[in-house]
Symmetry: C2
Subunit: 373 residues, 2 copies
C-alpha cells in the first residue's frame, strides 16, 4: 500500500504557542545545601528513602539511584541515634542535600545537625520542652539549617480537630502555630507543608496558607497510593497548585519504588512547562491503527530514557496519513503504517522506514541532534 | 513485639471537611441517548474503540468491556460504509450511547444516523459542500442527534495557523467558525472540544472557549501518551479545568487498552470529589515500614476492584503505631506491623490480624458494610 502523505509543505514553521506565563507567588528564598528553594528558584524535586537510614549499604544504594534519576533533595527518617550517626556516611555518598525527618525528639535533631545534615523536618510545637526547642533553633541557626514544618491531616492537634474538624482551617492554624514558635526565636529559615490525602483538602489548605505567609511551600499529597492512583492524585493536586503559582518544591508520595516518585514528579513539571525535559506524545490506538502502537510507544520510552532532561518532544503516531501533520509540534517522530512507517521532524517527512527499524532510526536521529556528551 | 496503639479514643468523630464546592460553569444541556451532558449533569466518561468498527466480534467485545468498566459514552471511527452499517448491530449490544467519529464525509454521517447512531463527531467546516452540511443538519435535527465539534491542535486550518500560530486563539476561532455554521442552520445540539497535547495550550483553549459560548465542553488531551505519562498529563489538565468548573464530559486518551482510560478517568473524578467511588489511600514505604507495603496495597486494589463505584475510602498503612490514627478519614483500613497487622475503622482499632489474613479480613469487613447486591 502506498503511503499517502498529506502535509502542507508551504506551511510556515510558526508553531510557537504564545502561552500564558505561570506567575509564581513570591516567596522567601532558603537553601538546602546548595539547592535554592523559593524566591523564583526552579521547582525542586524531593523523595524519601524507603529503607532504614542506618542500613548503610541499602541507604547508599537508594541515594545513588535517586540522584541518578534526578532527585534534587533526599529525605529519610531519623528514628534513633544510629540513624543520626549514619548521616555522616551518607553525606559522603550523596550529591543531593539530605533532610532528616524527625518526630518529637529534638536530641535526634541536634545529633543530625552535628552529623552534617542539610535540613530538618520537625514540628517545633510537638517537641514539648521549651529548652528543647531553643537548643534546636540555636543549633540550626549556627549553620542556617532550614526547618520544614510538616503538617499532616492525619496527625492534627486534637484541639484544632475538635474546633474545626479535619479542615483547611485546622491545617493552616496548626502550621501557623509552629511557624510562630520559630519566628518568636527569630528564625525564618523555614519551609512549610500542609499535606492530606484528600485533594480538595490539599488544595484549600495550600491556597489558604499561601495567602498568610511567604515561606516557601513544599507540596505533596500524603498516602496518595500506588503508582497508578498515586500519580493521578499527585498530578491533579500538584498540577493545580503549581499552575496557580503555588509551590516551591514537590514530593510525589507513592506506595512504590522512590525512583518512580522522581519520574512522576519530572513528568508533572515538564507537562505544565515548568521544567525542560523529554515529552513523548503518542496517539491512542483507534480503528485506523495498523501497528502495535502500545508496544512501539513503550519501546520508544525505553530507548529515550537517557534523554529525560533534554528539551525534546517526540511523537509516536499510529497513522501515517495524519500522523506527521497532527504531530507537527514534535521535534521528531515516527508514524506507523502497515509493515512500514515514517520518520519525521517538525511535521516534515524525512523517510520511509521498515517497521522493525523505526525505533532505531528515531534514536539515531535524536542522538545526532541531542547527543549525550 | 507488642503493638503500641496511639489513638485518642475520646476524639469526637467530627471528620467532615467543610470544603469549597466546585462551582460548575452553566452550560446548555444535550442528551447522548439517555446520557445528559451539560446543565449540571454529572460529568460523563467517554472512550473510543481501538478496533475497526466493522470488525463486529472485536467491536462488540470491546463495547461490553468498556460498559462493564463504567464507560458512559462510546465512540468509534466510521471510515467507510461497512463501519456505518455495523452501527445497527453494535446498538443491539451496547448499553451505552454510541458516537460516530467522521472525517469530512457527510454521507458517512447520514448513513450513521440511519443506522441508529446516538451522536456524531464531525467538523462541519471540513465537509466542504454546503448541501452536504445542510443534509447532515437536517438529518441530525430530525432525531436531535448531538454533534461534537472536535478541534485538534494538530489539524488546525492553515489560515488560522498562519495568522496566530498553533495557539489558543487559533483553536478557539476554529471552534467558533464550526459552531457558527451549525447555528446559522439553527442547530444547537452541540458539544465542543479543543484538544492538544500541550497542557498549557489545552488549558488556555478551554478557558477562552468557556467564556465565549455556553455549549457543553468535552475535555481531553490528545496524544497524551502511555499509561504512565498519559494519565499524568490527563490528570493535570482535566483536574485543573474541572476544578475550575469547566468541562461536562471527559475522555482520557491513552496509548493503552481503552478500559484503562475508564479506570483513570474515574480516578480523576473521584479524586477531585466530582463522583463517588472507591478511594484507596496508602502511605509511601519509609524507614519505619516492616511489611511489603507495595504488594499489600496492590493486593487490596485487586480485591476491591468490584467496589469501584462505592463511596468508600480504604487505607493501607505501613506502620501500626501511627497508621490507624493518620488514616482516621478512611472508612476501613489495615496497618502492617511485623508479621501481624491491625484492622481498623474510622481510626478505631477493631482487631489484630496475622499478616497473611489482612486482605481477606478487610474484604470481609467491606462486604459486610458495602456488600454488592
Amino acid at each position: 500500500m502506498a503511503l499517502q502523505i498529506n502535509i502542507d509543505k508551504k506551511l510556515p514553521l510558526r508553531h510557537t504557542c504564545p502561552m500564558k506565563e505561570i506567575v509564581r507567588r513570591s516567596t522567601r528564598r532558603i537553601y538546602l545545601g546548595e539547592v535554592p528553594i523559593g524566591g523564583a528558584a526552579p521547582i525542586s524535586i524531593q523523595s524519601m528513602l524507603s529503607v532504614k537510614t542506618s542500613n548503610l549499604p541499602a541507604a547508599e544504594l537508594q541515594i545513588r539511584e535517586l540522584v541518578s534519576a534526578g532527585c534534587d533533595i533526599i529525605r529519610f527518617s531519623v528514628q534513633d541515634l544510629e540513624d543520626a550517626k549514619a548521616i555522616r556516611e551518607l553525606k559522603k555518598v550523596s550529591k543531593a542535600p539530605l533532610v532528616a525527618d524527625i518526630h518529637f525528639d529534638y536530641r535526634l535533631a541536634l545529633a543530625s545537625i552535628s552529623a552534617g545534615i542539610d535540613g530538618l523536618r520537625i514540628n517545633p510545637g510537638n517537641i514539648g520542652k521549651v529548652e528543647g526547642i531553643q537548643a534546636l533553633v540555636a543549633a540550626a541557626k549556627e549553620r542556617l539549617i532550614p526547618i520544614r514544618i510538616g503538617v499532616n491531616s492525619g496527625s492534627l492537634p486534637t484541639d484544632l480537630v475538635q474546633k474545626y474538624g479535619v479542615s483547611a482551617q485546622a491545617m493552616v492554624e496548626a502550621a501557623l502555630s509552629h511557624i510562630h514558635i520559630l519566628e518568636d526565636l527569630n528564625y525564618q529559615e523555614i519551609k512549610v507543608s500542609v499535606k492530606a490525602s484528600s485533594i480538595p483538602l490539599v488544595l484549600e489548605s495550600y491556597r489558604k496558607l499561601s495567602q498568610l505567609c511567604d515561606y516557601p511551600l513544599h507540596l505533596g499529597v500524603t498516602e496518595a497510593g500506588t503508582m497508578m492512583r498515586g500519580s493521578i492524585k499527585s498530578a491533579i493536586a500538584l498540577g493545580i497548585l503549581l499552575e496557580e503559582g503555588i509551590g516551591d518544591t514537590i514530593r510525589v508520595s507513592l506506595t512504590s519504588d522512590p525512583v518512580k516518585e522522581i519520574v512522576v514528579a519530572k513528568e508533572i513539571l515538564v507537562s505544565i512547562g515548568m521544567r525542560q525535559g523529554l515529552s513523548i506524545i503518542s496517539c491512542p490506538t483507534c480503528g485506523r491503527t495498523r501497528i502495535d502502537l502500545i508496544r512501539l510507544t513503550e519501546a520508544v520510552e525505553l530507548a529515550l530514557a537517557d534523554y529525560a532532561d533534554k528539551p525534546l518532544t517526540i511523537a509516536v503516531m499510529g497513522c501515517a496519513v495524519n500522523g506527521p501533520g497532527e504531530a507537527r509540534e514534535a521535534d521528531f517522530g515516527i508514524a506507523g503504517g502497515k509493515g512500514e512507517g515514517l520518520l519525521f521532524a517538525k511535521g516534515e517527512i524525512i523517510k520511509k522506514v521498515p517497521e522493525e527499524s523505526l525505533v532505531k532510526e528515531l534514536l539515531s536521529l535524536v542522538e545526532e541532534n541531542f547527543g549525550l556528551s
